[in-house]
Point group: C2
Chain length 120, copies 2
Amino acid sequence: MTESAVLASAAPAAACSHTGTVARFFRALADPTRLRLLEFILRGERTSADCVEHAGISQPRVSVHLSCLVDCGYVTARRNGKKLHYSVGDPRVADLVVLARALAADNAAALDCCPRIGQE
Amino acid sequence: MTESAVLASAAPAAACSHTGTVARFFRALADPTRLRLLEFILRGERTSADCVEHAGISQPRVSVHLSCLVDCGYVTARRNGKKLHYSVGDPRVADLVVLARALAADNAAALDCCPRIGQE
DNA sequence: CGGATCTATTCGCCTACCCGCATAGTATGG
DNA sequence: CCATACTATGCGGGTAGGCGAATAGATCCG
């Protein structure tokens, strides 16, 4: 790792990450299937098989969604034998979801009528 | 308004809003243009003209995005003379954005490489 | 090694949604 | 009231990203 790379990763860069990156971060939660999976994993470590059963869609689709959640830093994967186990390490993820749920609940009526966003 | 409707709006329904609704809520922030507008308004009350200039897209498009943010409960509109002024009333909105920015910053590298989500 | 699981990738299709442009609607001030 | 901002809607086109189905790749156990 170069010196500048070390500095870059050490610096939080927090104040100024690009808006596009943050939008992509939100996009990961903007799909009902992924959000459902994340909240499922939030309640405890889950295997892929657990997730497939819970999501009610094909294994390949679930694999893609879980990869996405991992890439975006929401969950981490741990291999144990043949199986992968997924869990949420960062407690801020739960905070984010709880906060969003509270806000969404307070605006559910208007939200459900917003014609600019698909009906489900 | 019916009695049951009154009860429904009085009850927070907080604990159990449907996942689809929350996903729709996130979807509003999943677009870079809308997120950019929200963060702009978060820094102070803005007119539509301010927003058009800041966003760099056409007035009709900005109008649609602002309507979406209003519908989803992120911002409120106030008319003063001919102009509409937009602002963020609920402080939790700022909390949500700050929290998401912090998480996104800590995963920026992986996020930018996630092939499941478009490159911008 | 070889078969049995478990997980990831590719393909084609289809819908959601963003954009610019043109136009319609609405509130205010003279 | 009417002209003039200001704001919202409709349309056509393009791209992102969701889905199922088929298949390829990994990993472990005997």
